[in-house]
Amino acid sequence: MKLHHLVLSASAALLSLGLNAAPQVGTAAPDFTVVDTKGNSHSLKDFAGKNVVLEWTNHDCPFVVKHYSGNMQALQSDLTGQDVVWLTVISSAPGKQGYVSPAKADELTASRNSAPTAVVFDETGAVGKAYDAKTTPHMYVIDKAGVLQYMGGIDSIPSAKVDDISKATPLFANAAKAVLAGEKPDPAVTRPYGCSIKY
């Protein structure tokens, strides 16, 4: 009996089921239109020519709290300072953990000293599902040509402990650095960790 079996044909079945909608590094990032806390509308195509970072968040999630101990703010300041567009995305459905009013979102930005380009809402979860975003935090880097270059975790140690930030490999920061330098991040796909997004 042959023990080793490959399943290449599987993808035929997957294609027919429409499960190939998952985003893929190296291909065009799914377009979206979202509204920020000020009521301004943003589309991915508006940012053509700029590198874009997407950060999924839920301010009550302990894993988000871990990185908002300073790490996330530092990354935001550093990258937006280099002309990167940083969108903090809230996909929590109304009534679920992490869902906030625009005013509350602005207040959180101020109180946490965070520095994204904008905090945007995705109440229906459409954008999150298009990106197959699963956790908070969950990070994406899109290059100037609109090509998805990185998706996955913020760093390499899945834990809720602040102490681990300095011990971990900063996977997202490394990827963003590579994209800014016009290079391909390696790794470009990593494990996202954290709380589930409250779709």
Partner: protein, 691 residues
């Protein structure tokens, strides 16, 4: 930050004497204790320790693969020298759905077991066990926590069980998946996690892979049993970026869970490396309603009556039934017994096929034509039936009797065996025309397969049932008369032609020398029939009859004596635009990134021959193959070939034809079974224009 991370401080239990538990520590939504199976331990012993979680209702902690979010519980031990702790022995996880995500974890009473090994030369009289446990407990929201536990166990010359804890350890053991010592392999190509396990177990309902970010946890799992192997498949995780060479897999059945170690494909030596593709599409196929399949099978059976090998005999049988309209009761009984004979013969064939496959034989539908000896017997049978129609001989089964001959009462037995004979005579026709449909049936569960074959038989018997039970039908037929005898003699010729076709198949299988021997056998059959016919007319005596039997025996022996000749299947000449198929050639071509067309065919498969003539060997198809630099591989299933059978099964086929087009970077395309002249050029044009 501090408000969400709960730091729980250890409590020393030394004051209350030596206990086997640390007692409960309470965190938000969960209480925990560390428990030893023994209250006193001894050097050289392995002791089980249990971290016992009791979360609030609906709250859960996570398995080693937490799924789409969450975090596995982690343990960090501080132990004296000479004492070591093993990894967590995880209980069987549950899938916890938080749409669109899925997590793997535990609700309710949860026990994480770890082994504690005490060196044989451990000298101290206590063991100071310190554990830091980190966990994430979630309902919809999540709360991480950590706690320290400290347990002092006395060391003595004998080990003493902590009786009050034995129920907990029994429960923990029951919650563990049962380890299986069987081999399994997995692969991650083609966008899916696929596993093949050498295990016959039909009631597996779900599986859990222990590696994180390997499968798309929320996607549908496909589980099917094929032969002696269990096949599993689930799409890959979007965040899949690599996997260890060994992973643990937990299989769930109705009442038990099992754990298996899987090895990554390609890690084994030798021919195990040979990559074969499997396709588990059962989940999709089952969407075709059973009644529709049965209806189609019945329709197929009805059509069988029109096949050249069946039509002559059965049409005469039908006429004879219709003619006998005065004896309705007997008519009905005959029709019923005949139908039973047909249906049961088909079911018996299906049973034979299923049994052979369960025993590991790599055969598919059409197997009855893959043995040259079987083909030889069918040639004899068709020829002898033809001779009978020509009036050389009368057979006693009532099959050939027309008109008044039916008044000779045959009884149910005769009709039953007429049905059996009809199925045997029809069998060469089922393979070429219905191979794929029946092949599909055989890949289904045994009861479904048997039902499909029974429906086929009923379909075949339907005209007789209608004739016997619906008087209107019988009236549609012309009145019996002398013309029937003429018709009978005319209908002998389709039978002779069917025999010639099988003779040709036989010749392709074993060569022209053996074919000549078979022709001699046919002469013997002719002579035997002639002698037997003369005996029936009382023109020869016993000697003649004995001689006829001898001739039949000789005819039967001749194909056995036939020289086995390697058939020059692969003769290549300049005009041949295909190469012989082999799994290795296909693999090699695909690794080189070349487009490949695979055609699985057999000489006895009429559909295959028509497709080749009409759609594959045409100038436009040849030009398309050349234009796109497609290598055309042809596999010949005329004789039994287990490699081809296995390949067919990858595509859920059990018979030929099968056409698969491999385009680099694309999933394999299975072409329809009936090809039009445009199929190949159009498919190639479409594939090449895709990004």
């Amino acid at each position: 930050m501090r408000s969400v991370i709960f730091l729980l401080f250890y409590c020393l239990m030394l004051s209350s004497g030596h206990a086997a538990t640390t007692g409960w520590q309470t965190a938000k939504h969960l209480k925990a204790e560390l428990v030893s199976e023994y209250q006193q331990v001894t050097p050289g012993q392995t002791v089980r320790l249990a971290l016992h979680f009791v979360p609030d209702e609906h709250w859960h902690t996570y398995w080693q693969n937490p799924g789409d979010s969450g975090l596995a519980t982690s343990l960090s031990w501080r132990l004296p020298e000479g004492v070591t702790a093993g990894n967590i022995q995880w209980p069987t996880p549950h899938a916890i759905a938080i749409p669109p995500l899925v997590n793997y974890g535990f609700e309710g009473n949860t026990v994480l077991l770890s082994d504690l090994h005490i060196a044989a030369d451990y000298a101290s009289d206590t063991i100071d066990i310190q554990l830091q446990a980190d966990w994430l407990v979630c309902e919809e929201i999540c709360i991480p926590a950590e706690a320290q536990f400290r347990l002092m166990l006395p060391v003595g010359s004998n080990a003493i069980l902590a009786d009050e804890q034995s129920a907990l350890f029994r429960q923990a053991q029951q919650q563990r998946p049962q380890p299986l010592n069987i081999s399994g392999q997995f692969d991650t190509s083609g966008g899916a996690f696929s596993a093949v396990i050498d295990w016959q177990q039909t009631d597996i309902t779900a599986f859990f892979v222990a590696a994180s970010e390997l499968v798309d946890h929320a996607a549908k799992q496909q589980i099917s049993q094929q032969g002696t192997q269990l096949l599993l498949q689930q799409p890959l995780n979007t965040y899949f970026s690599g996997v260890e060479d060994q992973i643990e897999l937990v299989l769930i059945s109705a009442d038990t869970a099992y754990s298996v170690q899987l090895t990554k494909g390609g890690q084994l030596a030798g021919n195990e490396k040979a990559a074969v593709e499997i396709l588990v599409t059962q989940g999709q196929q089952s969407s075709t309603a059973l009644w529709l399949i049965l209806l189609m099978a019945a329709a197929g059976g009805l059509i069988l009556n029109l096949m050249p090998c069946v039509f002559p005999i059965l049409s005469l049988k039908a006429l004879s039934i219709a003619a006998n309209s005065t004896q309705q009761a007997q008519q009905k009984r005959d029709a019923l017994f005949y139908s039973a004979g047909v249906a049961l013969s088909f079911v018996a064939l299906a049973l034979l096929l299923i049994t052979l496959r369960a025993a590991g034989a790599a055969i598919g539908w059409g197997f009855q034509l893959q043995s040259p000896y079987m083909v030889a017997l069918l040639v004899y049978l068709l020829f002898a039936l033809g001779l009978s129609l020509s009036g050389v001989v009368q057979f006693g089964l009532g099959l050939m009797n027309t008109g008044g001959a039916l008044t000779a009462v045959k009884g149910g037995k005769g009709s039953f065996f007429t049905g059996v004979l009809a199925v045997v005579v029809a069998s060469p026709c089922t393979a070429p025309f219905m191979g794929s449909a029946l092949g599909y049936a055989v890949t289904q569960s045994a009861p479904v397969a048997l039902l499909v074959f029974a429906a086929l038989g009923l379909g075949m018997a339907l005209p007789f049932l209608l004739l016997a039970f619906v008087p209107g039908f019988a009236r549609l037929l012309p009145k019996p008369g002398a013309w029937m005898d003429t018709l009978k003699q005319v209908l002998a010729y389709p039978l002779y032609l069917s025999a010639v076709w099988l003779l040709w198949v036989y010749g392709r299988q074993v060569g022209v020398d053996a074919q000549a021997l078979l022709l001699i056998g046919l002469v013997c059959v002719a002579a035997a029939c002639w002698l037997w016919g003369r005996k029936q007319l009382a023109q020869v005596g016993r000697v003649g009859a004995g001689f006829a039997l001898l001739l039949v025996l000789l005819a039967l022996v001749l194909p056995v004596l036939a020289p086995k000749q390697a058939v020059p299947q692969t003769q290549s000449n300049d005009t041949q635009h295909w190469q012989p198929w082999s799994a290795a050639t296909l693999k090699q071509l695909r690794e080189q990134g070349k487009p490949v067309l695979v055609n699985m065919t057999a000489d006895w498969c009429i559909t295959c021959l028509v497709n080749e003539r009409m759609a594959l060997n045409t100038d436009s198809s040849k030009a398309a193959l050349a234009l796109y630099d497609v290598t055309y591989l042809k596999g010949d299933w005329t004789l039994r070939d287990s490699a081809i059978t296995e390949y067919l099964r990858l595509y859920q086929r059990d018979g030929v034809p099968l056409y698969v087009l491999y385009w680099p970077g694309q999933p394999p395309q299975v072409l329809p079974q009936i090809l039009t002249p445009d199929t190949l050029p159009q498919t190639l044009a479409r594939l090449s224009s895709q990004p």
